[in-house]
Amino acid sequence: AEEAPVRSILATPVVRQLAKELGLDLATVTGSGREGRILESDVRQAAAAAGSVAV
């Protein structure tokens, strides 16, 4: 069987929740934290960049 791609999104549940609220796909966000971790600030920036509602 072929190997499924490893999910590379690293984020805490809190950040995931925020992304969901902002309607953001975390796969499109680049993480600036340790080992590519997506931080809350990354999500907020990405959301702002995408012109979505500011939170």
Partner: protein, 325 residues
Amino acid sequence: MAKLNLVEAINLALAEEMGRDERIIVLGEDVGRLGGVFRVTDGLQSQFGVNRVIDTPLAEAGIVGTALGLALGGLKPVVEIQFMGFLPPALDQIICHISRYRNRTRGRHTVPLVVRMPYGAGIHAPEHHSESIESILAHIPGIKVVIPSNPYDAKGLLISALRDPDPVMFLEPKRIYRAIRQEVPEGEYTVPLGTANIIRSGKSVTAVAWGAMVREVMRAAELVEPEGIAVEVIDLRSISPLDDDTIVQSIKKTGCGVIVHEACRTCGMAAEIIARINEKAFLSLAAPLERVTGFDTIPPLLKLEEHFLPDVFRISRAIRKIAQF
């Protein structure tokens, strides 16, 4: 290669190893003449004699405590506890001695013994015949706890257990004692203690189970497959030591998991597995880990038994829930 069920595979492992290692003796209630209430030791007494397959008095602490002495005396006792529900009288010897002798004596003594027991519900047995208290055993340092889910693993794990220098609790899911037939090679092979087995791969959800629940989880996995949910199924095989690496690797891939056991929920093995995942794969978690377990109730008598046991319906719901989280 013969197709064997779990009972036959265990019997074969015992017979072969007893042939190879004359230090191995089998003891317990009704294991000799009767061949055990589930016939797991059938034929061993006629093959190896009454000094190697021994019917004991009815006393679980006595059996396990003397077995420790037998082990200290250079033998390798294989104890049968008739049902896990009757293990509690022997817990004292396991907690206070079997698990400690090595550490207590700084390695001067080792305790190579195996305690086998049928466990779990689902066969409409009487009161106290359906217990699953494996997490109590997993909380005890110094012992190992293994649970096969199929005949092949049963033989291989038991041979490993018999060759291990340390005490091993060998739990046999009696619900599937005769439910599964599988090709089981004759002769030596081992399945290592402490290693889980990925028996189905998938990228959507990780499902962890052991013993009789593996079959239910596999069925649930098939059920949700057409819905586009690819379940990776891990057969834990060893409860202690726990192969958390295999679980963690899978969770890193799938981002979510369900753990299934029939033991009571609170302080069951699933809690420990969740704690390990939390420790080692926290940032990969895209959904809460789900537990599908027995309730925090006494295993009911047979008329309500089906309500107690996790089934395909409950498991598949939990899988969907986290897949859609």
